[in-house]
């Protein structure tokens, strides 16, 4: 078990486990956390998992972990690891089963006073139009050839079919379509799982949430994003559903053989990997990007349904009921990026698992409107607590491979949460606070109780103080739809 004595303090918000800690490490572990948040981190096996992640062949720099980090499987949630491209490895387990799980934020010009009498109806419509829960089919059921076009073209497919606008594409990471997607590398099994699930939320911690923009911290950035204090906004948190889960499953199994073939020694089989310039590694990259494109379209269809719910609820009650896309980010992905490492520009694959890209102002790939302020970073809180809109900074580019936190981060196990909280009571409590809840499962709701998570405000204060992201706006939940 790693203890505080094994860590070197760099600053109030930064700690390090040196490479000398274990003989098989290829780099250090860099932790962004306050002393208080560190206590949570030390209470589970997340740091052991971060140390294990440093053994990935081709690792460049330190494995970096965010203040919302917690124990996952193989690779910690909240972890960032870069491997040199193309000789280094790509590890599906360091990206996660829910490939391109992410968040989309939509803004509006609807003020709370106009909206408050209609929030219950809005929650009902969102629940009705946005399929959620275990085993629920999606909004569209498409043929396999059509699905392959989704996998290849991502949100370009959605735009062509009337589900997205040019502005939606522009305000999405990678413009909603990863280049290099290769649907031929996605198994028939994955396609079969995906074809009926496009446009569905799923279960677990996924949600659609209507929020109130409660506080603005950076007027210029908020104004550019179209966020105004007192107005409504919508967050959509979901990923690539069964298709992505199957892609990861297929390649984790396939790579059990690849590590033997390439003589790669790892401390945990869930970290299995393959060199990116090997046939196995290249195939996974093509499949992973296909799954990511599926996830972009999945969130797009749900946003389309949310826009319908808003129109039916607010048309005639306010002049402008439209929802504009602020940004769409992925927090489970492997991306080829160029970063400066010890004065040299190096092309790497940045694995982010439960971590958000947080590119600073002027970075490549940002839409023109965000060039000046940096990339929006969306940090949803736990149910019933604040969520945050941040922007990336120049510092994040040099200190965290252009990455920041992705949420509050769990601190209590699901089994303990189920014993400690009751879903029906929680719904009543949140209702008393003016939060309209629609949930498919009361047990599922109990597992997602706010007290099972860390304080998202403390997480955001940490990345802000550390300088790897900057605060723009705080959102307060008004209605939550969960599977």
């Amino acid at each position: 078990m790693i203890t505080l004595n094994d860590l070197t303090q760099i600053s109030e918000t930064e700690w390090e486990i040196p490479q000398s800690f274990r003989s098989d490490m290829r780099g250090a572990v860099r932790i962004f956390a306050t002393r208080e948040l560190l206590d949570h981190v030390l209470s589970d096996k997340s740091l052991e998992q971060a140390v294990n992640a440093t053994t990935l062949p081709g690792l460049v720099g330190a494995v970096t972990v965010m203040p919302d980090m917690h124990q996952g499987y193989g690779f910690p949630i909240g972890g960032v690891a870069a491997t040199v491209f193309p000789q280094g490895v790509v590890s599906p387990g360091a990206i996660g089963y829910d490939i391109n799980c992410g968040v989309r934020l939509l803004g509006s010009q609807i003020d709370f006073e106009t909206a408050k009498a209609h929030l219950d109806m809005l929650a009902t419509r969102l629940n009705q139009y946005c399929p959620s829960g275990v085993g629920k089919d999606g909004l569209v059921n498409i043929s396999i050839p059509e699905l392959e076009r989704v996998l290849k073209d991502g949100m370009k497919w959605a735009k062509k079919n009337g589900y997205a606008t040019e502005a939606d594409l522009r305000c999405t990471e990678e413009s909603g379509a990863f280049k290099g997607a290769d649907p031929r590398k996605v198994s028939e099994r994955a396609k079969k799982r995906g074809k009926s699930q496009l446009g569905s939320l799923g279960a677990g911690n996924h949600f659609i949430e209507v929020d109130l923009v409660q506080e603005i911290y950076d007027e210029e950035a908020a104004s550019i994003m179209g966020l105004r204090k007192g107005h409504l906004a919508v967050q959509i948190h979901t990923g690539s559903r069964g298709l992505g889960h199957q892609v990861c499953t297929d390649y984790v199994r396939e790579f059990q053989g690849a590590v033997r073939r390439y003589n790669i020694q790892l401390p945990d089989r869930e970290l299995v990997c393959a060199p990116m310039d090997s046939p196995e590694g290249a195939a996974y990259l093509g499949a992973m990007r296909s799954a990511a494109n599926f996830a972009f379209v999945n969130r797009t269809l749900l946003a389309h349904a949310a826009r319908r719910a808003f129109e039916e609820t607010f048309a005639g009650k306010t002049k402008n009921w439209h929802l504009h896309q602020v940004y769409d980010i992925t927090h489970n992905m492997g991306k080829i990026e160029v970063h400066e490492i010890q004065g040299e520009r190096v092309k790497v694959c940045v694995h982010r698992k439960g971590a958000t890209r947080a590119f600073g102002p002027g970075s490549p790939g940002l839409p023109p409107e965000y060039q000046k302020i940096g990339q929006p970073v969306l940090v949803p809180g736990s149910m019933g607590t604040s969520s945050w809109v941040l922007v990336g900074t120049e510092d994040s580019m040099t200190r965290s491979f252009g990455s920041s936190c992705h949420g509050a981060g769990r601190m209590m196990s699901r089994s303990k949460a189920k014993k400690q909280f009751r879903g029906d009571m929680l719904r009543l409590e949140l209702g008393d606070r003016g939060i309209h809840i629609r949930a498919g499962s009361m047990k599922g709701l109990a597992e997602e109780a706010p007290n099972a998570y860390k304080d998202v405000n403390a997480v955001v204060e940490t990345v802000s103080q550390a300088g790897i992201a900057r605060k723009v706006a705080r959102l307060k939940p008004l209605a939550v739809i969960k599977g």
Partner: protein
Amino acid sequence: MPFEEISHTADWSIRVWADDLRGLLAESARGMWMLTNAEQAEGPRARREMSLEAYDAEGLLVAFLEELLYLSESEKIVFNEFKGLKVEDLRLSGIMEGGAVRSMEKEIKAVTFHNLEIRETGRGLEVEIVFDV
């Protein structure tokens, strides 16, 4: 029940034990369905032959549970009874039986290899499995 839920911060984990590998596979499946709170509808039982292979026993366990998860999602059938399970040269064969899903409260995304190790203990074979949820 020869399985129990064990604490994990974000995901789900169970410890399973049985006399031999065949028993361990069957009990792991039942433990997995317990976590999802899967309920079967009344009506005719589905029967299916299965044949799986892997590099080792742990790989076989993951492949078996993944197969069951896949069938529960794609065909909406929970297979929870196993007959004539046979493991030869890391090849698993046998018959599985199950019923249509009436309800399933929780979703398991995947079965992981995280620290997966089948060990011999005083209770026979024992394993801890982490599921991504």
